[in-house]
């Protein structure tokens, strides 16, 4: 007799144990594909790291099946997918959390929300490394654990949200990680660590303490003043580039250039192709970006394809879709 006989043939109400998880799969109420026998725990299933990883300190998504390890630097985030594609019947929900091995290393996972009845697809989870040392994770490492719950009856609605059927991260999700543009938190952390030494010395020496307090106070005031004016000049703006200003080339579509103040000037970046340049003014930065797009398009086109590494190959593919001869 199967483990699902109560509850009118559906998975029983409550958390499913290992035999009930297996039975639910056999009877088509639950899909875990590919299923890993070693991942089946007494009342959970351990999910493994999928092939695609996006980390805020790398310029593009990483194929973990080709790279041995993904490094999450201190105070950096990574978006990971599960290897397994899940399929829940309308009479089941899932609750996912980090495995204890992840938590013990000081890694926070963006888990918690319920996996709704009727959901199918991969799960996508953001990991945050809050420690001061890099965290390494590999393709097929077990990193999440999921409970499956049987419901007392079929809900009136099943999950039909935007994540239904999704197996790869969206461009929006990838850009959200990549556009963090590096370790802002890490920089703050490093600065804080640098302050610890002088502060301790000041406490010991005593006489230095009042001076450091004054310094800290004036720094705080400066930061407060800067924060108050920040929105006016510090916020990046998106400028749509509609033309290249070239006699020979035209854009197939508009592209977003992100213009950011930096060091008294401005940078202009087309993030999709990871192409950036600078200018003394916003207008000059945009103008330089247009020139650089054409220069790179011509220069990369002139290279033999077998001489291009992974990133220039990717950049050329994007530019070929974007730029056409007049």
């Amino acid at each position: 007799m199967g483990a699902l006989t109560p509850n009118n043939g559906h998975p029983p109400q409550g958390i499913l144990v290992d035999s009930q998880i297996r039975s639910a799969m056999e009877r088509g109420f639950l899909g875990i594909d590919p299923f890993d026998e070693e991942g089946l725990e007494p009342a959970t299933y351990d999910l493994r790291v999928g092939r695609i990883g996006v980390v805020s300190t790398a310029p593009q998504p990483i194929d973990l099946s080709e790279q041995t390890v993904l490094t999450i630097e201190p105070l950096s985030v990574a978006l990971l997918q599960t290897e397994e594609v899940l399929r829940l019947s309308p009479r089941m929900v899932g609750r996912v959390g980090p495995r204890s091995n992840i938590m013990r290393h000081g890694i926070f996972a963006s888990t918690g929300p319920q996996i709704d009845p009727g959901f199918s697809g991969r799960l996508f989870v953001t990991l945050l490394n809050v420690t001061d040392h890099p965290f390494l994770i590999r393709h097929l490492d077990r990193f999440l654990t999921i409970e499956f719950h049987g419901l007392s009856q079929t809900p009136t609605r099943i999950y039909k949200g935007k994540h239904q059927g999704k197996t790869e991260p969206s461009t929006e999700e990838i850009n959200a990680i990549l556009s963090r543009g590096g370790p802002a938190l890490k920089d703050i952390h490093r600065d804080m660590l640098e302050l610890i030494g002088p502060m301790r010395a000041a406490v010991i020496l005593g006489k230095e303490f009042p001076r450091l307090i004054d310094l800290q106070q004036s720094t705080l005031e400066a930061i407060t003043k800067m924060s108050a004016t920040a929105p006016a000049w510090e916020t990046p703006i998106t400028v749509p580039v509609t033309a290249l200003g070239s006699e020979h080339y035209a854009l197939v579509r508009d592209i977003p250039a992100i213009v950011q103040p930096a060091g008294g000037g401005f940078t202009a970046t087309y993030f999709d192709a990871n192409i950036a340049t600078s200018g003394d003014t916003q207008e000059e930065a945009i103008s330089n970006l247009k020139s650089l797009l054409i220069d790179l398009f011509e220069d990369l086109n002139a290279e033999r394809s077998e001489n291009l590494g992974p990133e220039p190959t990717r950049q050329l593919a994007i530019l070929r879709e974007l730029i056409k001869s007049k």
Partner: protein, 98 residues
């Protein structure tokens, strides 16, 4: 802040091939005959001209890019970092070639 001096120094350090283009000089970085990265160096005589876009070109954050310009990070270490990021294929050797 990263300046034109930093950009030129990094280009030399990574043995970049400098190609004159319309608004920039293009610093093209090759590794074992393969092009792995590039960045633009702006025209102009001001050595302190802002080049804060260089981190994108060399695939590092601004802090590490400054360390690369200041010799704290060597060219060989940069190559290793690019390998870890998948921007140089694993089979490639570890010397930078012009």
């Amino acid at each position: 802040m990263l300046t034109k001096d930093h950009a030129v120094f990094i280009a030399k350090k990574l043995n970049a091939d400098i190609r004159t283009k319309s608004a920039h000089d293009l610093a093209v970085i090759m590794h074992n005959g393969k092009r792995i990265a590039q960045f633009g160096i702006r025209r102009g005589s001001n050595r302190n001209q802002g080049h804060n876009h260089i981190p994108n070109g060399v695939h590092m954050n601004a802090h590490d890019t400054l360390l690369l310009a200041q010799c704290t990070i060597s060219a060989e270490q940069w190559v290793e970092m690019m390998k870890q990021k998948g921007l140089i294929e694993e089979s490639a050797k570890t010397t930078i070639s012009p």
